[in-house]
Each structure stands twice: as C-alpha cells, then as structure tokens.
Symmetry: C2
C-alpha cells in the first residue's frame, strides 16, 4: 500500500507538527495586535503563491507542512482583536478543543448507535437554549447555519398549516404569504424561493424608527393565506430588535406561525440586563439562534428551536429510511433523531458549545455578552465626542453603524454631490486597511443611505485600546479624502 | 473579566492537553484492533456518567479535561479497523490536519475578502473533481452533505425549466414529475417535499436486476411535466450503479435534467480499473459526490458539481445582499461566490480534501479506491466458501450484503417461518457485537428481503486479517441462534 500514506505513526507525527503551526501562526501570531489581521494578496498573485494545482503524485512531508504554513499565512485572522468584519470574531479555547475532538471522532449526528454521546448532548444543549427562550419543553436541532434554520421554520410552519404539502406539493394548497421586515436577513427570501413559495410572496413590512408595524389584514396579495411572520432579533446591519410582543399579538390574532430569527441577537437572552430586548420571545413558535456568532463557539453552530411538543419536526421531515432507522433496534429508537432533519449525515455541532458552557458556566456567558455591550457603548461615546464620526443612530446592540466624514466633506452636507462623494469614502478606507492588514471592518449602503461602516464589537477579548485604535485608524486612513 | 476564561496562554495550554487526549484516546487507542470499537452504555446510564447538565458556574481545567476524556471514551471509534457501520470510516491524517486548521482559522466560505485562500482553493478542487467527471468547465460548490447537494440539483433543474418559480412560486408553473430508482437515497424524496414538489411527484422506477429501465413517456401523473431524473452511482444499501448512458439517452430525448447522485460511488472515478461503472457520467447535468465517504476526508465534504457554464447556480440562488456582496469592492467581485449558495455563512470544506490530495496525489487516491475493491473481493470469495454466509448478490462495489444463516436454520429454507426467524438473526448479532464492542456493521430489510447485513469495506487501512476477523466474529456471535 505504498504511496497511500496510511501509517498511523507517521500520520500522527504530521498532525502534531501541524498542531504546532496552528498554535504559533493562527492562535498566537494570529491574535497578536502587533501582527497583521490579514496578509492581502491580489487573487492572481495568491494563486501563484499557493500553487493550488492537484497532481498525479503526492508531495513530501516537508512540502506539505509548508502548505499548512501558507494556508495559515494568507488566511484572514478572524480571531485577531482588530477583526470587526463579520458577525463572528474571537476564539474560545474550550470550544476549539471541542471542535478538534469533534473532527477527530468524525461521526454523524443521526443515530444513538453511532453518536451516543452527541445525541444525548444535543438534547441537553437545545433544552438549555430553550429554557433561556422561556420554554420548559419543545424540540429542535442544530443546522448548518442560520439560513438553514430559518428555512426549517418556514417549512414546518407550512406543514403545520397544510400537512398535505409533504406528499402533494404546492399545487394542493392555496397561495401563501410570508411577512418579515425590510431589514430582515436575506435568507427569508431565499427560503421562500427554495420552498416554492416564491420571493414575491414575501412581504417586507416597513421599518418605522426600526420598529415593525405589521397588519396582515392588509395582505397585498389578494386571496393569499398569511402563513408566517419572521421577526428579527438583532438585524444583520443595524442590530435592531423587532417588538416581539406586538408581533406575537398579530400572529395570535391571525393564526400565523411566529418565527424569530435571533441568529445574531439571541445571545442577549443570557444577559439579565439586556434580555428585555427580546421581550415576548417565549410567545414565538420557533427561534433561530447562532451561538457561533456572539458566543465564540466557532462556525458552525446554529440552533433551530421549536415550542412544539407534538413531534411536528419529525412528521414534517421523516422518510423512515430502513437502513438507518431500523425499528427493531435494541434501544429506544426515539433517540435516533436524524429523521427530524432534511440532512442525512449531519455534523456534530453541540460539543463545542457544551464544553465552552461547562467551562465558563451560564454566568460566564452572561459576562461575555454584557462585556460586548459595554465595549459598544464605550465606542459610541467616543464617536459622539470626535469630529468626523457620524452615527446612523443610537445602537440597540453591538452593531455601531457610522459614516466617517473626511475633512474635505465636513460641514458641506448641502453641496450637490455630498452623498455621492460620501459613498466613495468607505470603500477607499476599506481597501487601504485591507492592503495594510491593520484591521478589517465591513461597510454597506442600505436603502437610501450611502455606504457606511458597520463596526461589530462582539468579542469580549477586545480592549478599550482596540477601540481607540479603531477610531484613530479610520481617521488615519481617511484623513486625505 | 474574571470567569470569562479568555487568556490565550491558559487557553492554549488546555488546547494542547486536549490534543494529547485526542492523539491517545481517539487516534491511537481508537484505531487499535485490541481496543473496543465502542464502549456501549444504555442511554440512562450514559446520561449519568456524562453529567451533561449545564450550570451557572464553570468548572476547573482538570474537570474539563476529564470531560474531554469522557466524550472520547464513550464515543464510537469510527476510525477503528472494525467499524463497518456507515459509508464512512478510517482516518487520513493530512485531511485531519486540514480540518484542525479549518477550525482554527474559523472563517466562512462566502467572500474573497474573508476567505481568500479558500475561495481559490474551492474552485481548484471542484475543477479537479469535474475533470474526473469529464467536464473541462462548469460550476459547483461544497454543501453540508449529499442530501443538500441532491436538493440543489432539483432546485437548479426547476429553475432552468421555469425561472419564474424563484419569484412567483409553484403556483405559476405546471405540476412536475421527478424520476429516480426504487433503491435511490431517501434525500430525493425529502428534497421534493421541501421544494414543494411533493413526494407523490417522485416516481420510483422499478429496479430490474438492479438496473433502471426508464420511460418518462409513461409518466403516471397525468399532465405533469417531467423535470429531472436522479440516477444513482452507488446505492446506499447494495452499492449498485444505474446505467448512466441509458438514462442520458432518455433525458436527452425528453429534455430532462440528468442528475447523478454519486455521493457514495463517485470516488470510483479515480480508478482507471473501475470507473467504467459510471460510464456516461459526463452526459449528466449535475453530480453529487461526497469525498467524506470513500476518500476519508472526514465529515463533511460533499461536492455539488454542474456542467452549466451560464451561471445558473448563482442566478437560481442569488439575493445580492448589499452588506456582504458589495459591488464597489476593490477586487473582482465574481470571486465572492457565497451568493451561489442557499446558505449565508458556509463552512470551509475544501481544505481537508485539498491537503490530502496534495499528500497522496491522484495516483494515491486511485490506489486507495482500488484497494477497497480488492478487499471487498477478498471478503466475497471467503463468504462463498464458508457455510452460513449467503450473499444477496454479486457486489458491484464495496457493499457486501449477506445473510448469516445460523446453524439452526441451515438447510431449512422451506419451513414456514424461515423468513420470520431469519429476520431476527441480524438484530441479535448486532446487539451482541455492540455490547461487546468488538465491531460494528449495519443491517436492514429491503423491499421483500428480511434483515441482512451490509458490510462496507471502504477504508484502505483494513487488512485481510480484519476481514477474517469479521467472518469469525459474525459466526461466533450467531452460532447459538
């Protein structure tokens, strides 16, 4: 079996070397403020540097270790204290240990037989998340991301209303209407397209001072049956929270499924101080909550939670495959939870969260959430006092959205091409910071607002110095614009 | 920030300890034939042993390390040479190094900005897989499992035929019909339900000597438009291959999308000797192929490949989110491939396959596939010569399906309750092997066939001794039945 590289001793020796590279390059240098957050290369140059091509013959161990180093070197350091570019950042070492263990154990979360520890563990973790939502019982599963969780909600809602759809398809049921806010995540629309409901059946409710006002009586699609409201706790860009009690009233009065996309905001439920942002969450039918965002579990960890206790999730999705879910097994086959899923093989996503939670306790997670709010608040205070930084609004959460007004545009709001010129500021500053590797933060336009930055202060590892650096760096990069 | 456990030095020390446990318990003991493949505990007992409950306060590092040990101890060792229970098994250390690095880098496969290495790498890996299919160009992405990949195929096929479905839903298009074989994977049905096509619109074509005979002219649903055939290369239970050229003829003549679910069988394309099993694959429109099965990359690694060069995948799924896919970026935004996906955040699944491929080369992967065929062939020969082992058929692939006929039933095929008694043999043997932890292999009934074992010899790490052990062990466990 020459050339197949299957020797355990040699293999483990390579893995141990790779582990050292990971420690040095990704976890030590990659989290050091004196090192770059990214080592930018233009695509053509990077392609050459990496020599990605796959060939007939393999390489020697030394070459392969250089591959490991190269991948580490040119990847973005998302655990770096100056990475503010996405809704994830930072590193938790217990979670990471859980992730390594998950990878090494390499099993699938579908039967007790092949994943005994993880079947029991997923149940406990989901129960604890449900308790924070306010549900003493219920159902759920971990999904490959928040978009998938939101899609599950829509599918289960449709099945509850029209169970015949599973067998007979959409032609057997009336046209449906789905409601969500203008600033909700795009996955609601993607789910509607995928499920055959269609994007035009998704009605975007106007956001008024970032609050939803919903009236399904005015459903603009004549004859369509209102099915579901997908409310948002923590919108992607501004971090706004829909008023859940108000939406729950509408859903109850109209018999609609109430889903809450709390992929981003859900973690405020850990905080006694901030959980009122989600007041009314216990009235929802289902919730999406991604611990891989604010809680630092690492990608992917997305919980889809249901209040339902009638096994709706399984009825909606089961296919009863006889090669996997044999009914004559010698243990309680209700532990074979895989048939609740639209997946067959399913990655184990519970261990990283469980081990981290065991390490810091509910109290520790609460502390981390509160810390992130404090950091955001510090940043907002500083911005208010500083020339050239204009907040979009007073943040509810840890998304701090702002324009940087360069010296040449200050006090010139009334000139004709002000908005046009302002729109070009963020992309230039972004390019400069990425090419230098000093930090990373996202920007975007939104409805009539031209490009603004979205600073996300979620990692509790961030210090006040990091935020001072951020403000100085934006200014430094934009002072000549 | 007391209690938040965010110190890098302490964290890295914990991670290093955990890595040692992984090496010792999972990768050394867990692959040692003298150790158990699983340490079975009944659910109630395991629940107690693991102390899964999550509490207000965290635990100390010593307790947490014991947690790591416990999770390892009671999890099934899927890399053990006597694990034959699923369509994955074995370990490749280069792939595992790639998986650890992926976890540590913790990024999302959606933009060049945040995943520069992986955007380029995914493209190269998918290109190489497409070349093996026989396509010089095309499209694709890695998905969270084969079920998701099959679902993509159905959605893209629907969009190609009726692009209005994305906006207007299923009510705007005629009823559809989908064709697949009786022994295809259940995910085809799950996808039809999810997409609103409905399970009753999936027509199961009879398997004749394990070969599909398809005639869409006889579509049993009056007025329905035939949309897609989902052929299978390597069925889940028997490892059978549909005749792709025959199916391609039908699809071409009827304008149907031809999808091939080669989640399991796709890896035969590496083998010059065995790739004729998939003769005609280049005529398909799309292919599902899971390197996490036969190629040992580890879960999850599922490629969805398309022949299309018109950007159909993106047109079908894009939502153009302005916060992620800004059009005024300073690099070629066609590299921001995330909008092809129905996910938003997407795990990086290419690195493990790429690094393993770099290590062993195309030739090494071919060798592994050929090795698995040889092992299966050895086992089949032994079974034919051995009393008590009855093959279902001559295997095409590495699934070896057989009944064990215990001494009390030998030569009694004609007694009235023979089938009934035979059906109870496999579950008892399975229970015994799992309780002892000596090995793991799956069983199932299929159509009129009562419970039989499905032995899967996929890992090239398996020796002839392991297969002799397998036969002896089945006999030992079933000799008194």
């Amino acid at each position: 079996m020459d050339g197949l590289l299957l020797d355990h001793t040699e293999g483990q020796s390579f893995l141990t070397e790779a582990f050292k590279v990971i420690l040095e390059e990704v976890l030590t240098k990659g989290t050091d403020v004196n090192e770059k957050v990214c080592e930018w290369r233009d695509p053509a140059e990077l392609q050459l540097l990496l020599d990605l091509e796959l060939r007939e013959d393999g390489e020697n161990q030394q070459q392969l270790m250089q591959r490991v180093r190269d991948v580490a070197a040119y990847s973005v350091k998302t655990s770096h204290p100056r990475f503010f570019n996405q809704l994830f950042a930072g590193v938790d070492y217990h979670a990471l240990a859980g992730r390594f263990l998950t990878e090494a154990l390499n099993t699938s979360q579908y039967t007790y037989e092949v994943a005994p520890v993880f079947v029991l563990m997923e149940d406990v973790v989901l129960s604890q998340l449900r308790l924070l939502v306010g549900w003493g019982e219920g159902d759920g599963l971990f999904c490959p991301g928040g978009s998938a969780s939101n899609m599950y909600a829509m599918n289960v809602a449709r099945y509850r209303a029209f169970p015949q759809v599973k067998l007979k398809g959409m032609w057997s049921i009336p046209q449906l209407a789905v409601f969500t806010s203008q600033e909700s995540h795009y996955s609601v629309g993607k789910a509607a397209s995928l499920l055959g409901i269609g994007l035009e059946s998704v009605f975007l409710v106007k956001v008024n001072q970032r609050y939803i006002t919903l009236n399904t009586q005015k459903c603009p699609l004549f004859g369509a049956v209102p099915l579901l409201v997908s409310a948002t706790s923590g919108t992607t860009v501004q971090g706004a929270f829909d008023p859940l009690d108000l939406i729950a009233d509408v859903c109850e009065n109209n018999g609609l499924w109430m889903h809450v996309d709390a992929a981003w905001g859900g973690s405020v439920l850990f905080s006694k101080k901030h959980r009122q942002l989600m007041k009314g969450i216990e009235r929802a039918d289902s919730v999406t909550w991604n611990p891989h965002k604010m809680l630092l579990t690492g990608l992917q960890c997305s919980a889809f939670l249901l209040k339902d206790t009638t096994n709706l999730l399984k009825h909606c999705h089961c296919a009863n495959a006889s090669y996997l879910f044999q009914q004559d097994k010698f243990y309680d086959v209700s532990l074979d939870t895989g048939d609740k899923s639209i997946q067959c093989g399913r990655k184990v996503d519970c261990l990283k969260l469980w081990l981290m939670w065991k390490a810091v306790g509910t109290r520790g997670l609460e502390g981390r959430v509160d810390q992130a709010f404090q950091n955001a608040s510090y940043l907002v205070d500083k911005m208010k006092k500083r020339e050239g930084f204009q907040l979009l609004n007073e943040p509810e959460f840890v998304n701090v959205c702002f324009w940087f007004i360069p010296p040449s545009l200050r006090g010139k709001q009334n000139i004709k091409d002000y908005q046009e010129r302002l729109s070009k500021v963020a992309p230039v500053i972004k390019e400069r910071m990425v090419r230098e590797g000093s930090m990373m933060v996202g920007y975007q336009p939104q409805s009539r607002r031209v490009n603004f930055f979205r600073m996300v202060v979620l990692s509790p590892e961030i210090t006040l110095q990091d935020m001072d650096f951020f403000l100085n760096e934006i200014e430094r990069l934009g002072v000549d614009l």
